[in-house]
Symmetry: D2
Subunit: 421 residues, 4 copies
């Protein structure tokens, strides 16, 4: 995180207190439907147990705020720093990531106590006059926790999918709005290109990887006004998309063959009928919904098949800049992509972009542990834009750069097409 | 399991009812100190979650008794047959063994209900007149469940050891009896060899692999009257045992180097002081206790270092034949090897033998699913004898053949020496 | 390969005949010092045996020229299409890449005969009037063979390095020119940035991935006028570069720890003295030489340590555009980086760039098998620029885009720094 | 190797000189048809390159004879001790076994020179008066080289099988004797059991693992008077043998599924016709030949299917004791199992036994490096008896114990049935 972030307008202490309470409570709200067993499982190395998310987000506040700025603060437990550090080398050694699911103790009870302990002490810290650095770190901690709220949902979806019982995370408490059963054809939002400015301009919070704001040169292009749907994906499948080497990147074709991929993750075909496992149980694939849980490789192959291409992250950003955030983000009742009104540039499913995740010109990771937040991951990943149905409201913005390796499928990842014009 | 077992004296229905209740209750007693989180974790592929053990032992009764012999019985859940079949190919496909820890649902609550459901229906079955086949299968199911009681303890020990908190499974509820701090030197129980009979002779229950009873020819030998102690093992370590290739089998030396072994599993050296993780927490290594959690490779290397050898399974059996079962088996209060009175041939820790696990002359695995119980594992394993501190009382006997691959260390495995005389 | 390449000026048949002879002969010249044993070994999956390179380059002409355009041509051997296809899915199945070193037959003798057979028939084809498509494909085949000449050298270096005998590929037949033992400090060639054109503009041969030519917007920058030297790398090592997590990308730090990296590939430290294995045997590290055989991760960490950064591929291209190709490329006598005159932008060692290997705007891979040449590798790799001491003269140019995954170290890969100004 | 071997009658120096020349020459005879490329390849970790076998057998004489007993002897090359030590920990470190195929230099020429150098110096040693220890070690070295002659053939068969060209090692120089196209039904050689003596009794050479001679108690049994044939194996295949879990050991069934086994190694089914790759090229499966290249798992499953069992090693030894060595061993013209006259107990294919490879009562591996020859492999393997078509004549005997892990298929391994009577 660059030192330059300090010149942003600091949130007021009052505002931070309120938001602290809300954000922390929303994590607990998301974990509430989950049993102790659910919260313990790590279904693959990429996934973390729910109770680990709950603890790690608390560790972030304990480590970077309470230990640093609350005089006399004593850590809740001497082993938690080791257990709940995710990847901060500067903070010290940590428990092997791939074995987080081997730790039964501390259990959910101890972790609830840990959260409570951190919250109580954070309340004390937040009553004080906060300088910009502290305000910034609290703000960062809240955005960090929101990211883990999304991770918690995508991780628990993978965990639950391992059971042959197809258990739902939650039943919809109110019915989803009736949606169009077919989706309108794509319209292309056109842009003439030229020199345009991208990246975050303060004030307002942003992660360090969103800046510095700078100019790039774009060629004329069109961007689809909605995501690719399941119906379109079924056409791709039916046309032999997963069996046609010529559509795929070489690494993608290897992944198809090694993984035995023949559809998005969580899809299954029984007796010629496709169903999909969702956080609300298994149900028929809805052709009108945006497709979700596809890798970059699949997104790219689909685009090739569709005689289009994936957009760059800047094509997306420039187009979305003037658009409302009208899509579905993480709500309290329903966590699955819904058919989109058009045009819609946010929500439902993250859009893979053709852009590798690299630093913007002038980017410098900060010295200090929080400098490890983003910069050290800038290789072997692609940028995704726009948020998804598991992104907390208020967390997404036009300059937000999410990133994943090209083979992953367990996040809520979808496809938005672009084309040259 | 051979058809020949039918000629054993069948236990009475009354006896079976009583024992059914006791054995099933003891499983729940063992699981009682464990949280839902503890019961969910699978810390390595060899380990099964506690809740899986509780369910699988119920599945055994449901599959081989209730579905076969209780008219009108309907399975508790259509997916449990898939989830809780361990390895019976004849019964159908099953959930991947190494991913048992990925299944959060059914949780401990559903599994308690499953056990209750099975118990209720078994009670109905056990009120009826039982033919020999049914009696035999109930008896088998109870011995099967006792085996899983031991597995449950060795598995949960491994699970708990993964936490840096060194959490105890249970605190001793009454203090262990004061034990001698040093152990008397070994005495050798001598046998002149010759043609002797080994294997199980009915009546009484035995597993199919314990028979047929047959004669073998032994050379004269001496068998140590107690297990190797931790104090003796410390001498082996101090003498460079783990760094001297010449003491080791070739596969053993590879295991030492790949695994970085320098002491038994669960031992750790901090500031020159050895401690050991036990089911009652971490504590100093006690030189008087039998050493435990060593592989066959380590047992063999130790024997070579001690200018002795491991006994064959028949040397053990012939010597133990006339001896009382005076060692510590699984009790209600304490699960860790205790210093032994001498002579003592049972309990504390299983003794690795030099005998590969192979069928006795005339052994035939039965047709039918329960025939998969033992016979199909008769390769790549060694026989262990004598039971351990986690073996349920009444479960061990002089002909009992336990077996494990030579590299494992998570069972309660120890060493008893033999020598030629 | 895009159809658009056809509008380039086609080389004359006379010119092609002559160049065909020269290029094919140079491959044999490079293989001449190698024994049949040398030519058979595959020392890791990335490496191909020399005899495979000799055969595969012939297969390219046989498949795309002789079988397609020489009437009545019959393949040399029915199994060679399977054995020597590298990765062209459209052409058919192929031998497992990682097992190329398991094939002893055909041997070097059969492969010499294969090359002769292809050359004889190519001579017939090249006497005819060639249309643009054929001329283009011959030209492509020659550039393809030149790429394999470089691969042959980097691969055989890895093969020879596996022998404890440190065998040289070739003894220098004439002594290397005396070189400065210390290297002048870096000067920075400055560029004001702005909108600039990059990519290949015809006429003249280029690979499809070098176009279309297009405009990009650059920020002001400075580019080092020489590569990083071994002397500078020794400072990085001495300063703990390989032990300082904060300098590394996360994937890079994992590679350091998994691979036990503490210096560039082929370096070894005995009694505090660093030596390096070269194609001319093992010898002391020369501080004045450009450093070579470092991964992208190491290049990036070094740049961070040096308070600089890696250039983008366009920063390199714009700077090198007006510069002479004055560095050392692959000659007949010496294959190792030499100390550079300054400024020097070509030769010695490929410069890793910060640019991910991605398509240029408007790039479309062609339909047909040769369309698999470049486009399908455009993910998970970084661009390298400038050629190296193993690049055939005439093969490099300012728009040339080489590419490798970030973890590789066996190519002749080095580092050129850039900085913001 | 036990000290007790010294009391055997030492071979005379004259006899040893002659045999030394013959054995060493036969190795070169076997390698003669192989190109430098053939001799370099290691097709899997278990396989060693031919040139490695040629060098390692020379290293044995150089290390244990010339360096130990020929005053003033200087090793041929300072790196060969490292390169050509197989597994003798006591002699020092060695090159990674699985990478023997990565070493192109020294090549076949240098290794021929190495053999010549060793032979010249051995000739000097063998002109002297030899004490028993030296005579014993020379004798051991010759038997060691004979073992590698067999390994050389089974290894090169695997190497050649990797090429889609199905290249023959050698064309039969004279036609195989016409053989019966069908094989007579098995007869069972009966034995009443009882206490019998097994193991080697001197004089005459034996490996340490063949002793001490001792008594064992056998039950009555019958042993098949010939090996299982390919025709019988085809019945097993046609009856679904490879698809019937109930026939297999658990580890065997896992191997079937992981390896995709559906026939012996080297068999292939094209258009319903089975062919087999042999050292003389690919050809139709001959139903009358003994089946070869099956694992212990397959042998055991076949025996179960045939309602028989595998013999113990002692059942084989007692039966074969009075029988002539009338089968085909390694000759100069043909290396493949031939249909057997009955009864026949030696040659064609090694017979898997039900006996795990364990020490005989009283076995002690010697101190010193040659003590690593056999004893340290006594775990995780099964004993095979009787020799095969690649065993040098004079090398096999009734007490000879060969051993392999149960999953291997590349040796010349077959099946002989036994049954209880």
């Amino acid at each position: 995180m660059s030192a330059v972030v300090h010149d942003q307008a600091a949130p007021s202490a009052l505002d931070l207190r309120e938001r602290y309470g809300e954000v922390r409570a929303f994590t607990e709200y998301l974990a509430a439907p989950l049993s102790a067993e659910d919260q313990t499982v790590q279904s693959m190395p990429d996934v973390s147990p729910t109770k680990w998310h709950r603890a790690h987000t608390s560790w972030f506040f304990e480590t970077f705020l309470l230990q640093a700025y609350l005089p006399g603060y004593r850590p809740f437990h001497r082993d938690y720093g080791f257990l709940f550090n995710s990847y901060y080398e500067a903070v010290g050694p940590r428990y092997t990531r791939s074995q987080r699911g081997c730790v039964s103790r501390p259990g959910t009870g101890e972790i609830a106590a840990y959260r409570h302990h951190v919250d109580e002490h954070m309340a004390r810290l937040l009553t004080r006059d906060l300088d910009d650095r502290i305000s910034y770190l609290v703000d960062l901690g809240l955005h960090h926790e929101q990211q883990h709220q999304e991770l918690l949902l995508m991780d628990i979806k993978h965990v639950l999918s391992m059971s042959p019982l197809d258990p739902p995370y939650a039943y919809p408490r109110r019915p989803a709005k009736p949606a169009p059963r077919t989706q309108a054809a794509v319209s292309w939002t056109r842009c003439d290109g030229g020199v345009v400015a991208v990246g975050h301009s303060r004030p307002g919070f942003s992660f360090d990887n969103e800046g510095p704001r700078h100019e790039v040169l774009l060629q004329p292009f069109g961007l689809a006004d909605r995501l690719v749907t399941c119906g379109e994906w079924l056409e791709f499948i039916d046309d032999g998309g997963y069996r046609t080497a010529g559509l795929w990147l070489s690494d993608g074709w290897a992944a198809v063959n090694e993984g035995g991929w023949d559809a998005p993750l969580y899809w299954r075909c029984d007796d010629d009928a496709w169903t999909v496992f969702t956080l609300h149980g298994r149900r028929p694939v809805d052709p009108a919904e945006p497709v979700c849980h596809v890798s970059y490789y699949e997104a790219d192959a689909f685009a090739t098949w569709a005689r289009a291409r994936l957009p760059t992250e800047f094509e997306w950003e420039v187009t979305a800049a003037g658009q409302p955030v009208n899509g579905q983000l993480s709500g309290r009742d329903y966590v699955h992509p819904r058919p989109q009104p058009a045009p819609s540039f946010y929500g439902e499913a993250w859009a893979w972009t053709a852009s590798a995740y690299l630093p913007y010109p002038g980017f410098r990771p900060a010295t200090g542990a929080v400098g490890e937040y983003n910069g050290k991951f800038m290789v072997n990943q692609h940028v995704l834009r726009g948020g998804c149905c598991a992104t907390p409201p208020g967390h997404i913005r036009g300059t937000y750069r999410n990133f994943f390796p090209p083979a992953v499928r367990w996040p809520f990842t979808g496809v938005r097409l672009a084309k040259d014009i």
